[in-house]
Each structure stands twice: as structure tokens, then as C-alpha cells.
């Protein structure tokens, strides 16, 4: 069974004034272990699609099933809890709580899950080491570079052990080196721990590294193709 399945998903913003059809009848499936990029020009509906899949916004029509559960009809507090337990998020910016250190940012989400303290501490440290921030655990977001901040966000997203991670243009604000470094980490998680990633981007270098590429145009799926992984990944 697919982890994510959408059925004729449509979203219309401002239906009463100036309607914007951000999504038109989008039906896709995402399976466990995928490393999928959603590409498309700015305004094509990438963010809208990811928000629907992530249960951050409600569709105008259509359905979103996560693990077989229809989330767009859930009550607000139930949906928040569902997100907490099932979905990891990495946003383009404003990803971290500024008054918390890297470790606290990663721990906080596990605290929300009411895990026990010791496990939280241990897992937070482990994850930060995995994303290469073992030395910067006690740094606050402002003390970290953009790339380091995004790596903390990936660690935070992984911390809750979600079914999949949604990343909306995670590299948009990063220089090439940091972007490739972030991709390396995501790829490693995908390979080693079979973590499912769905990320949007319009950066060709990032698209090159995805295994599946969904292309959106004008709120609809234009192309959906499997890419052959090139040498870079195997190295």
C-alpha cells in the first residue's frame, strides 16, 4: 500500500474574489523508500501540493490518504497529532525555534510525542551527529549557517520517526556546496534507513539526484518519471 495517495486533489484559492487554481485534479501515489522530487516553475503548485499531503492545508475537493487514513477530513487537533506522529517537515526557511539550541530543537518534537527523557537526549545527540553537527549541538540557530540550520531541520524531521519527510525547497536558500551536502545527508538517510523523502525544488542539480521526478505545470501533473541514478550517487 502507498504511504501517500491523493485522489483528484484540487485547490482553489480565493474562490469568491479572484480564483486561483493552484491544484487541478492531482492524483499521485508515493511509496515507502522513495526519493522523489516535485519540480516545476514558480507558482506551479509545488508548495500547495506538499501542504495538502502534509495536512497543513485543506483541499477544495479530492482526498488525501496517508497510510490509508483520509487526513483532509480530520479535526484540527487530531490532524496536528497525526502530523506529529507520521510526517516530518523541512521548510524553505524559518525552520527552527530561535530560542532553542540545535539539540533542543531536535528534542522538542520528541517531547511533544511524550517520549522518555533519556531516549530523547540520546536520539537527539545521535541525529545531530548523523547530520554532521555533533560539534554544534548547543548552538542556537543564529549561530549556525543556512546549511547547518537545514541539517538541524532534517534531524528534527527524522527525530519523530515519521512515515515520510516533506521538504519544500529545502536548498533554495543554500549555496551549491551546502545544498549538495544536505542532499548527501538526505540520500544517506534514504539509503541506510529507508526514510521516504518528497521534496520540491526547481534546482536542476537537486533534480538530478532524485530517483523519481514529478513535474508540475499550472497546478497539474505534467510528467512523472523514474530517473536512472548516475555515478555521483554510487560514489
Amino acid at each position: 500500500m502507498a504511504i501517500v495517495r491523493t485522489e483528484k486533489l484540487s485547490k482553489v484559492y480565493n474562490p469568491d474574489t479572484v480564483p486561483v487554481h493552484a491544484l487541478r485534479d492531482v492524483s499521485i501515489e508515493i511509496n515507502e523508500g522513495e526519493f522523489t522530487a516535485v519540480r516545476g516553475p514558480s507558482g506551479s503548485g509545488k508548495t500547495t501540493l506538499l501542504n495538502m499531503i502534509g495536512g497543513l492545508d485543506k483541499p477544495t475537493s479530492g482526498n488525501v490518504f496517508i497510510n490509508g487514513q483520509e487526513i483532509s477530513k480530520m479535526k484540527d487537533s487530531k490532524r496536528i497529532d497525526f502530523r506529529l506522529q507520521n510526517i516530518g517537515f523541512v521548510f524553505q526557511h524559518y525552520n527552527l525555534i530561535p530560542v532553542f539550541t540545535a539539540r533542543e530543537n531536535v528534542s522538542f518534537i520528541m517531547l511533544l510525542q511524550k517520549r522518555n527523557k533519556k531516549e530523547i537526549q540520546q536520539r537527539a545527540d545521535e541525529l545531530l551527529e548523523q547530520v554532521g553537527l555533533g560539534e554544534r549541538k548547543d548552538a542556537r540557530p543564529v549561530q549556525l549557517s543556512g546549511g547547518q540550520q537545514q541539517r538541524v531541520a532534517v534531524a528534527r524531521a527524522l527525530a519523530s520517526e515519521p512515515k515520510f519527510i516533506l521538504a519544500d525547497e529545502p536548498t533554495a536558500n543554500l549555496d551549491t556546496e551546502s545544498a549538495m551536502n544536505l542532499l548527501d545527508i538526505m540520500e544517506k538517510m534514504n539509503h541506510e534507513q529507508n526514510v521516504t523523502f518528497v521534496f520540491s525544488t526547481h534546482d536542476q542539480r537537486v533534480i538530478d539526484r532524485a530517483r523519481r521526478v514529478i513535474t508540475m505545470v499550472d497546478g497539474a501533473i505534467h510528467k512523472d518519471e523514474i530517473q536512472h541514478t548516475d555515478e555521483k550517487q554510487d560514489a
Binding site: L56, S77, I80, L84, F89, V99, F108, L112, S160
Partner: protein
Amino acid sequence: MMYLKLAWRNIWRNRRRTIITVSSVAFAVVLSLILESMSLGSHEHMIDVTAQFHTGYLQIQDPLFEDEPFLDNTFYYDEALRNTILNADPSIDYIAPRIETFLLAAGDLQARGALVMGIDLEMEHNLNRLKDRLTEGRFFEPGEEAAVLGAGLARRLYVEVGDTLAMLGQGRFGMSASGLFKVAGLMNHPLREMDNQIVYLSLPTAQWLLSAEDYVTTILVTPDEIRNTDPVSESLRDALGSELRVLTWPELMPELLQGIEFDKIQMYIMMGILYVVIGFGLFGTILTMTLERMKEFGLLLSVGMQRFQLSGVIFMETLIISLMGVLSGSVLGFPILLMVLSQPGRTKW
């Protein structure tokens, strides 16, 4: 713990704003402490002065005296009654007998109505430190035909120490009362109204003048602490029976107490306005603290924090700021309270 950490650190994100808000809460606390303690202090002081110089904390009088406060309704006062009263309750510190009435007082140039009060100087001094109020001359010996006047009355009568004062009026049972007295001294009475009309005589002198030997109009009873007024009044009633009437200070100064109530209401209104102003300040801070963090709240809700948990953190922030204000206000205001409470000569309430 982590929620608390989050709240605490958020408070210090804008250090200056938080300090200003905390200070304004502290300011309100200090100000209301000052206002409240000053008004409490001044109210207690007003009651004390009135009780000590005028009505007494407890007063014993003839049952008819209240409706007809004339010399006809005086009562016999001797050693036996004195002992009965002093033995009525261990909380009684001292008593002061008085005979008082209104007479016409005249100097060479002017005549005015005067409140003549015959007192036992030593006992009166126990009650209100009367001797310390002397501004000129001296007090009289018991039985001496000499008077001590309120400075205000002396000014109005154009008399000075050493002059002669004539007094004229009615004594007990319609007997005429008249006599010439030397002005032995002047005193400063704390109640302005009485400063303008008081003439102190020694108790036997006044009794003789008013044809009321061994009779008094009132006996003032002072308990060791004001809060023992009611139990002492009970004991006195038991000891004295129906022959004499016992009144307590709230019954003796109803107008003053009413005035104090009115005063308090005014103060509470002022404080209410202060609280509203400070409250708006606090509200403004919390509001901006919230509004400028909308993105962050969005993030927290996105990753799985429930709305009630988020509200809890904001509530904690409000609580911490308020508590810091109240605490620092109390710490600053405490010495002020101590100062008021340790005023010299303050009666124990």
C-alpha cells in the same frame, strides 16, 4: 520543563521591553502599597487622635447622656468605681475621667463658646501625652484655679499666658457656673476644631466650677491593643451592669468612620484606574510578543504542537512577567511598609 524553558527564553528575547513591562507592574505594586499603607496609616492615625483627645477608644457614660449630653446626666466617680473598672478586664491599660460642658469664655476683648474639660492630668497624659502638647507656660496643679487653653482659642480671645480668663454658664442642675481663672499655659490640640475651643481645667476645679463635686460626664478606657476593644467592652458591661453605658470607638465616631470609608473608595477608584493602565501595558506587551512570533507559531503547529500547548506557553510567559513585577514591587515596597508601621508614637492596632 522544556515548555518553561521556551517561555522563559521568549521573555528575554526583547530584554528592554520585558524590563519596562516588569517595571511598570512593579511600579503599580509599589504605588498601591504606598497608597494603601499611607491611607491605612493616616486613617488609623485619625482614629487614634480622635479617640485619644476626644472620644476615647471606650467610653463609659450615664445611659441618658447620649440623648441629653448635659451635666444633669453625669455620674458619681470614686475610688470604688475606679477599681471596679480597672479590675474588669486585664486588657485595660488605663482610664481617664473627664467632666465636660460648654461655657462662655471671655478675655478682656472677646468672648466665645468654649469646651471646658476637667481632667486628671496624669491619667490624661497616659492616654494622649497631653503634657507634650504644651507650647507655652505650664499645666495646672489639681484644684488650682488655672486653665490651659488651645492656642487657637487663645488667639481668638486675645489672651496670653498670665492673663485672666472669665468663664460663665450653667453647672449641674441649673446652678450657675462662673469663675475667674489664670491662663497657666497654651497647648496645641491636634484636632483643629477643638484647638479653637478647648479649655482644660483640673478635674476638681471643673467639678467645683460646675457644682458637680465627685461627678464626671465620661470615663475613657484604653485597652492595651485596639483590637481588644470589643472583649473589654463586654467585660465592662458585665462589671458595670445597667447603671452605666459602655460605648466603643466605632459607635463614638460614626462621621469620621464614614469619611474614612469615602476616602477608601476614592483610593480604590484611583488604584483601579492605575491597574487598568498597567493592565493595558501588559496586554500590549503580550500582544506584540505574540504577533511578532506568528511565523514561529505556524512552525510549531506544523510540526505537531497542539494549540492548547502553545496557549499554555504564552500564558506562562504572561504569568512570569506578572510575577516578576509583583515580586520586585513587593521587595521594593516592603521597606516602605515597615517605615509606615514603625512610625514613632504609633498605637498598636
